[in-house]
Symmetry: C2
């Protein structure tokens, strides 16, 4: 493909270096990625995105999860636009709030109620606060290495964080029942909550689904101690099961945190809970200036309704399986040791014996050149807008990329 | 006016009682207000809003601050719509991020850089984390009773909050130099930041502007100790001075938190800082799934550009002064002891000797009946969409409302 005469991505990076610390904050700082990834994007539609230099990609990051029906899905956009003409943020919520809460309670089996906010971190933090308010206790046990947000109690970094910010956290190893029990013992009669991710999706590590035994044990321990079982479904929500990701293992939490895909890209997060924690949720003070804004709620209603109607989980599962099977077949043919993990709708693709990521980076860069955007270490995302033709076009690119990796 | 046959607000409250804890969370729970206020809204345009029952109001809450150019301002909406057609959340930011950061750095004298997020609380929390990262220290001193957000370190409630969440906070009294000095002494060599609101705008209490002496002393103490001076401009930002509210007292912070009015209602927040804290801001990890979304940034560019072009601060000052003068004149005529405080663009109207809020509630309810939405205890907001005709229509209503209060 022809590169533009001017490298707009590089020009924007130079300008950003002056007015944005480090050029970009957080996980979207491209210096965390192999050289060759674009920092800036100019356009997105369906399952495709274009970088600032105009190069188009079939997208397997989906805006880091929020895009689930396709960028600019017409049904979602029409609902958002209709609400926008009426009003977005006002002095209070609109009827959309009640309609959305009713829909969520209808779709999510554990939910007797719902509350809404803007960030995944808002939702996980509110879950902790509700659990503490509801139990009158302080300790939270959670899995080592799990990502639950980016404020001091949960940030993956400790820069600017004080010891006290994490004073009441006790860690266990995901899927390790003995370590879970040990953590519960340590918390003693001060256990407010057991906090678990939908599945183990730590950065750069093989993704692992919860075992049924682990999930049941977490539920039983919460019941025995009176603590809350919280599932952090921010990343996985709406891709594994519309009713919550632990429906897959037959275990229902007391509280769950949601965000990302809930409104197909509109900024929204949610906490759902059961009646045992309704009083705790009522007593806490949590709010934000934009939390009752109606456009994102109208978008969420349209998103969840369409996800249910078209069986989006089914579509993503079929497309994800097609991608996984194709990759496995190609890897065997090229003699490359591929380590595919995570649910097929949220794949992670690693290479065996690739501690320095040399193979993973080469693979992803070869894909970028061929118009496919994958990530070497982060959970990826399928959407309901990915078609068989998109998967097959992707597999044509991966075949060449794996051939290149095989030559390294 | 005619009420609808059906009370839609009440119907929505009944439905919400089932699926939302307490019917509503946070400051927007109408049970915090006198009986008679609507919980639900159906529409907003210019400086007017309509509740779920179709009753229209001239609005002095402005969606709790975010609306500053008028609901649905055509310039802001056109910019947002143009960006929406390209893309909102994508795998990285668009050029709008760089353009917005450049604009903010241009408009805000203390700013050498900017970062963006979604909630005011995101911004105040990032300021603390940056100050701690930049200084390697832990203590934050802040004014007793000030509102800086709604997560455990700063929430006005302690329900679900642990002691450790506030372990490194030391309190002083706003505008009280001796108590500020005492707090700085207490922090010793562990002082990371002095955090101040743009002005004292505690709920239900007379609002007070910072004195020049207090502001200068805060700046001098930060300089002498190497701590950061942080101005929380979330509520006041863009209404007192586009360059930051402490420009009014000639003192520049090292860091400032912004949100609310920055994008005329689109969910966005910002941290600005100077070069002394660029490294701290670079080192911390802060992020969110929707933080690089471009539509809110396009809206912010349009909002700030228009605010500057039309001298919105001047408009709000003139309209606010017209309202204040009119109210003062009416109160004197009716023999009612009115206590008007805060900058005229962000007024608080209290009644003398009204500890139980009987007069304030009666005043506000009388205004509601007359199509004016004011708040009895919270900072109110003027916008650049309020015209002389709107203020005069408001004053016609306040004249009757004050007459009613005078009869109590």
């Amino acid at each position: 493909m022809d590169l533009p005469l001017e490298d707009l991505d590089q020009a924007l990076r130079s300008r950003a270096a002056r007015v944005i610390p480090g050029g970009m904050w957080g996980h979207q700082n491209i210096t965390r990625m192999p050289v060759g990834y674009p920092q800036y994007f100019s356009r997105a539609e369906g399952c495709r995105t274009w970088d600032a230099n105009g190069r188009g990609y079939i997208d397997y990051i989906c805006a880091w999860g929020p895009m689930i029906l396709g960028y600019g899905d017409p049904e979602v956009e029409a609902a958002a636009e209709a609400q926008r003409r009426l009003g977005d943020g006002m002095n209070g919520p609109s009827a959309r709030l009640v309609e959305l809460a009713e829909l969520v309670v209808d779709v999510v089996p554990h939910a007797d109620w719902a509350m809404f906010s803007k960030n995944g971190t808002d939702a996980t933090t509110a879950c902790l606060t509700i659990a503490r308010a509801g139990t009158g206790r302080r300790k939270i046990i959670l899995a080592r290495g799990a990502y639950h947000g980016a404020i001091p109690w949960c940030s993956p970094s400790v820069v600017g964080v004080t010891e006290e910010d994490r004073a009441h956290l006790i860690y266990f190893d995901y899927n390790d029942i003995a370590s879970l029990e040990n953590a519960v013992d340590q918390a003693g009669d001060d256990l407010a909550a057991i906090l678990v991710s939908a599945f183990k999706h730590d950065l750069g590590k093989e993704h692992v689904l919860p075992t049924v035994d682990f999930a049941r044990r977490a539920r039983a321990l919460a019941d025995a101690t009176g603590a809350a079982l919280i599932v952090d479904d921010v990343r996985a929500g709406f891709r594994l099961d519309l009713g919550g990701s632990w429906e897959c293992v037959g275990v229902r939490p007391d509280l769950a945190a949601w965000s990302k895909a809930i409104a197909n890209g509109y900024a929204l997060a949610a906490v759902t809970g059961n009646d045992r924690f309704r009083e705790g949720a009522t007593k806490i003070f949590t709010t934000g200036s934009f939390w009752t804004a109606s456009v994102s709620m109208a978008a969420a209603i349209a998103t969840i309704s369409k996800l249910r109607r078209i069986d989006a989980v089914g579509i993503m599962t079929r497309m994800g399986q097609r991608l996984r099977d194709g990759l496995a077949h190609q890897a065997a043919r090229h003699g490359v040791g591929l380590q595919q993990s995570g649910p097929v709708q949220m794949p992670l693709v690693l290479f065996e014996g690739d501690a320095d990521r040399r193979l993973g980076h080469a693979f992803c860069l070869a894909l970028l050149e061929r118009g496919v955007y994958m990530h070497p270490t982060h959970t990826m995302f399928l959407s309901a807008a990915h078609t068989e033709a998109d998967i097959d076009a992707t597999l044509a690119a991966t075949d060449e990329a794996l051939a290149a990796v095989a030559r390294l």
